[in-house]
């Protein structure tokens, strides 16, 4: 399950990097910067929800036991 977190993180980094690319190359005319930043935020929310779910279900081993875990 850790791989899901890594893959989502890589997608987040990719969309952040793409936004930077269009920020530099688009000279302010490109819509792609805001588009990729929006994708970045949506992916981050998904990653956050997945982490909470994974911790709650015990799919990932966490540093400290938590009230979320059974």
């Amino acid at each position: 399950m850790k791989y899901v977190i890594i893959v989502l993180l890589l997608f987040i980094l990719f969309s952040l990097g793409s936004a930077m690319f269009y920020l530099v190359k688009g000279q302010g005319q490109s819509k792609n910067t805001v588009k990729f930043l929006t994708v970045r935020v949506v992916l981050s929310v998904l990653l956050f929800l997945f982490i909470i779910l994974a911790a709650k279900m015990g799919w990932i081993e966490t540093q400290s036991p938590s009230f979320l875990q059974p």
Binding site: L9, A19, L23, Q27, G28, T38, Q63, L68
Partner: protein
């Protein structure tokens, strides 16, 4: 002022800010050296004076750049160099955090298990650190600064993650609003972002107070304490800077700066905020949870 062609630079006359910046840096460093003299520690006020001169320089220089930009003195050549400046700045930021994350990963994956006897570290463990298990989180075989507890990720860090994620959503709404030329919406969502950033900083301070006073988790708590406070502390500094930058951008939007087709200052700061949020996600996962 006539329009400049693409291959010409706008060169301002009487640019006094570089020399002011140099004086500020020199004063800061001299003040810091003066304080570090262990025989006869000096007053910190020389360093503070240096900081004040640097702040004065930044305020004045950035203000001049904004004025020149609003007076249409900049052409596409200058615009390109602003964008390239952003690229190099972000490159240095990525390297900066890569260094600290790298230290964390190296310690967790290699050094600590070696001290605990894994791999080729069996003799190291048995001869030098017998009984040391090498399990993260650890303050090392020396038990530096004594027993400590780690922060429960599902209290303040969870709240802080929600705050920063929400602030990324609000700044994205502001971004869309600016592109749609809806200034009122842009201002409202920018103010919301600044407030969320400030609340994040408040809770981060609360967390540090709890760590120091109740958990005995300190910067001196071995490898765990060092990596924890260096990563979260520098991230906190970035949130502070980002919050100040968004506040300035909000004032600029209120003053009527930026157009849907020309808003590099806004976009650069928005991108920076997204970057700081992604760094926090990395911290939440690799420092607090896993």
């Amino acid at each position: 002022m006539s329009e400049l062609s693409k291959d010409q630079y706008y060169v301002p006359h009487l640019a006094k800010w570089p020399i002011v910046g140099s004086i500020g840096l020199t004063t800061t460093v001299l003040g810091a050296i003066n304080m570090l003299n262990s025989e006869n520690p000096g007053t910190p006020w020389v360093m503070y004076l240096g900081f004040a001169i640097i702040l004065f320089m930044m305020f004045g220089w950035f203000g001049d750049v904004i004025k020149e930009s609003e007076n249409n003195l900049y052409n596409t050549q200058v615009d390109t160099s602003f964008r390239m400046g952003m690229v190099w700045f972000i490159f240095s930021e990525v390297m900066f955090f890569a260094g600290f994350f790298g230290a964390l990963f190296y310690a967790r994956t290699f050094s600590v298990p070696w001290l605990g006897g894994e791999g080729t570290g069996l003799a190291t463990n048995e001869v030098l650190y017998p009984g040391y298990e090498g399990v993260w989180p650890t303050n090392g075989p020396g038990d530096l600064n004594g027993h400590y507890d780690i922060i429960d990720p599902y209290h303040l860090p969870l709240v802080n993650t929600l705050l920063l994620l929400t602030s990324s959503i609000t700044i994205t709404i502001a971004h869309h609003a600016l592109r749609a030329n809806n200034r009122a919406q842009t201002i409202i969502w920018l103010i919301a972002t600044v407030i969320l950033g400030a609340i994040f900083l408040y809770y981060q301070a609360e967390e540090y107070i709890e760590a120091y006073q109740q958990l005995n988790l300190k910067l001196s708590s071995g490898i765990y304490g060092s990596t924890f406070f260096m990563l979260t502390g520098f991230h906190g500094m970035h949130v502070t800077l980002g919050t100040i930058m968004i506040a300035i951008i909000t004032i600029r939007v209120i003053k009527g700066h930026f157009r849907p087709e020309s808003h590099f200052g806004f976009e650069a700061v928005a991108w920076y905020w997204h970057f700081v949020d992604v760094v926090w996600l990395g911290l939440f996962i690799f420092v607090y949870i896993l």
